[in-house]
Symmetry: C2
Subunit: 338 residues, 2 copies
């Protein structure tokens, strides 16, 4: 059983009042330097830790940041948590994770926990970050939130994004630099904002380099392995097939690889394949997938930072936001055009 040291004992040991200890703990100004030192020594000596419940009951902070997600890829969720925690720990905050079932009654799920926990802020991952009900409840409860890679309504709240257009542009440019001119593309789920942005980057790169975007070499996918597989079957069927395929996420790219394997098309000698996201699966195929890495942990850390006072919203101005850099991860699935 831990000894449960209270602020009282720290105060007694350092010969000051409780309030002064509190001041030191909260890094408040107006404490003489040696008083501060004395208190800090006592804290260390007694191994004192403030009780978070008492703190949040008395004060206004709860020292809790929420992370809401709904069935996104596990790797994404984990990365978000790691990134957010890294920043939170510095300030003594903790992370509450809450899966949201977007199909169900969203308000009923989040309203109770918001009023019970009184969190200091919430990080919203896609697709929850674009759920109007969620945003409305959060605003009604007055809980600050930051959205990760939001799709729409960018000016509605603070957010953190990556430049999908430029990333897709650069991946396409990479293929073009390898000598490819006929590059197939598999679009993502039409409901996902990133889909359009990535397609836009692809088109932009093709056009700027003077290559035609061939309608028949652009397929609709839905971000799933299966949809990538099926799109690839159409794309790679005849002899008039592209020499490279850029799938707008890794799962679909993996589908392309599977089809290529079946058709005995060597990757990357006969066909280059590129993905997007750098999921764990990208390294669990042979050859390993060339893809785009989103700095998810960094994005989550930035989100936490915005919440923890990295930025105060100025009335009348657009809410604070951050745009982070992606990284092109060139592995073995792309090579020179045959």
């Amino acid at each position: 059983m831990s000894s449960k040291v209270t602020i009282h004992e720290v105060a007694r040991m350092s010969g000051v009042s409780i309030k002064t200890v509190s001041r030191v703990l909260n890094r408040e100004p107006n404490v003489k330097i040696d008083t501060r030192t004395r208190v800090q020594e006592a804290v260390a000596a007694l191994n004192y830790r403030p009780n978070i419940s008492a703190r949040s009951l008395a004060g206004s902070k709860a020292y809790l940041i929420g992370v809401f997600f709904d069935n996104p890829s596990p790797a994404y969720v984990t990365d978000v948590q790691l990134g957010a925690i890294a920043r939170c720990r510095e300030e003594g905050y903790h992370l509450i994770v809450e899966p949201i079932d977007s199909e169900g009654d969203v308000a009923a799920q989040i309203e109770p926990m918001l009023s019970t926990l009184r969190m200091d802020g919430v990080i919203l991952t896609p697709p929850v970050c674009d759920n109007p009900t969620v945003l409305a409840v959060l605003e009604a409860e007055g809980v600050p939130y930051v959205r990760l890679s939001p799709d729409q309504d960018l000016d509605r709240s603070a957010h953190v994004r990556m430049d999908d257009v430029r990333a897709a542009y650069e991946m396409t440019a990479h293929l073009i630099a390898l000598g490819h001119t006929d590059i197939g593309f598999i679009k993502g789920h039409p409901d996902h904002g990133a889909s359009h942005l990535r397609y836009e980057g692809y088109v932009q790169a093709m056009t700027e380099h003077g290559h035609a975007v061939r309608e028949s070499h652009v397929e609709q996918g839905y971000f799933s392995f299966r949809s990538g597989f099926e799109a690839a079957e159409r794309l790679l069927a005849g002899d008039d097939r592209p020499t490279a395929v850029f799938a707008s996420n890794d799962d679909m790219a993996l589908g392309v690889m599977a089809v290529a394997n079946r058709l005995r098309l060597n990757v990357p000698e006969t066909l280059s394949v590129a993905g997007f996201d750098d999921t764990p699966g990208a390294k669990v195929v042979w050859p390993q997938l060339t893809t785009v890495r989103q700095p998810i942990q960094a994005m989550a850390a930035a989100a936490a930072d915005l919440l923890l006072g990295g930025a105060t919203r100025v009335e009348g101005e657009a809410p604070p936001s951050r745009l982070l850099d992606f990284e092109l991860v060139v592995r073995e699935s792309t090579g020179p055009a045959r």
Copy 2:
């Protein structure tokens, strides 16, 4: 801004004392049925939610359950969270996730948060569940914990496991039933308890069915794609290769599939491949992987249940534990022996 209804107003509205409202909220006995009803109506009418900070400050419960993990597979972490939350929500508990860096000073990481948060219990995932320092700190702080799939020291604490031996046995039996007699095996990381158990199940099934375990067809792996890939290269090199390979996790099985592809061995016509874990990757290959599914969410829910009073430890007896059932997931990567 939310209106912050307090217990006081509920009491006034229902014409009882604060304490009685508290009794109703905590499902305490000795409240007349119609009093209870009246209070519940007031709670609903006012949309009252108890303040968790006040509750835990006054009482002994914190309404928080921690989940500690250290760099396991993302899919695993996510499943654990989902499973645990499902159970926690029923009781109004919330989940605090805390990544642990086992390489660093573990005590320094968890001791502060334990004394600050005073969680009601902690769920430990592998490999943290076998970290002696973590267990020691938890015990010193008097925080109850449940381990998921612990490796050693089973009687030290409550835990939840799956029967790895039997699962491996059944997978092997499945291959044998398909007519395979020469079944290769790739072992997992020797530091992982599950590795030995799975190998044991394989040996047991082979032996019981009268098939020899050929030394040369058992390879050491380390649970990684790469190690599976390399093991498969050795296993499938000559003409005297097994007709089926059972890799003791999915990542390694994926490595086997990649090698098979390179060698132009058709799966499953020429070679059957089986994995273990049913990771997302299992469905993102073609053909999809036959594997064993661990009921991770159910295991986590069981762990939460043990923590939330599903079982009280009786002094002198072994701590409570649960053994859950696995599921054989037969997909396309296994077929009749040629």
